[in-house]
Symmetry: C2
Subunit: 153 residues, 2 copies
DNA sequence: ATAAAATCCTACTAATTCGATAGGAATTAT
DNA sequence: ATAATTCCTATCGAATTAGTAGGATTTTAT
């Protein structure tokens, strides 16, 4: 399961992609209140997203956070890796975080590894495609469908 | 990432599927040594697999563990759920372990949920197909391919 | 200049989970 | 009987997670 850090990060990013589309910075406390995230905790999360190059900030009185990249460029895979580490379920099939399985006899012919390698590929592909843009699009599509349902009743 | 419990469980199950194909029980210590799993830790794991109906055991002098189901019937999804809980990355898209996301405003139109719902479906499908039988088959196929490579050199 | 308001940074903490061990009870073949 | 095995409960140390505290730093507005 995703850690709360990652969940909060995704929600904050989506919020910033929506609210801060004019380029004006949004204050931490606004994001925290709107998305129901503990203020101080969010502070640390946004800072880490900034260090990772996804966000930028302005300090001081009119300060706040805003996207450093476009919503098309920021994807869930990168956010997950940042906070939760590898997406792979086994270290021996991880890409950035590769590590040999201690107990493994022959990595090349391991059937378990073969299975989890496939799972990783599929998952990473889907999460790379899941950009902030894609998420917002999906949600808008779902809202339209809900409206239809309601008006039919 | 998988917990060590789950990794050990999968390795032990594959071992039992291979070694215990005659139906004779295999001792814990044999599995532990062969798969490099701490003996006492493995004891608890096998017991849990028994309680879940995947293994059975014989007590006493000639005792040990053996598969309760066929290798085609035991799959990785069930093993993972047993030790690590839900396969879903968000509680709101889990099947057996469903829980609402506290901070979520509208589950029905949540773009994040939509993405992770797709990821879950794909992952579960792959892991359900990953039976002990499938794993052993894959490993044998890989061994053949390795032989070819070696003999070519 | 100064005060106000924001981000930035370090350190700490309580609770939970994880991996593993210890010790003995129950069971069974010889 | 006894030897060898599974079964069961309790415990432990280390790591991780979620969150808090407090103040340093930076910037704007007056």
């Amino acid at each position: 399961m995703l850690s709360k850090r990652t969940k909060y990060a995704i929600n904050a990013l989506v919020y910033l992609a929506r609210e801060g589309s004019d380029g004006e910075p949004v204050q931490i406390s606004r994001v925290a209140e709107s998305e129901h995230i503990p203020r101080k905790f969010l502070e640390a999360i946004l800072l880490e997203l900034k260090h990772a190059g996804m966000l930028n900030s302005r300090k001081g009185k009119t300060g706040g956070y805003y996207l450093q990249k476009t919503p098309e460029e920021i994807n869930i895979a990168d956010v997950m890796r940042l906070f939760d580490g590898p997406i792979a379920l086994l270290p021996c099939v991880a890409y950035k975080y590769y590590e040999r399985c201690e107990e493994c006899k022959d990595e090349e012919t391991c059937g378990i590894r073969s299975v989890f390698s496939d799972v990783r590929s599929q998952t990473v592909q889907m999460l790379k495609n899941a950009t902030l843009f894609e998420i917002i699009q999906r949600s808008e599509k779902l809202k339209k469908e809900t409206k239809k349902k309601v008006s039919k009743k």
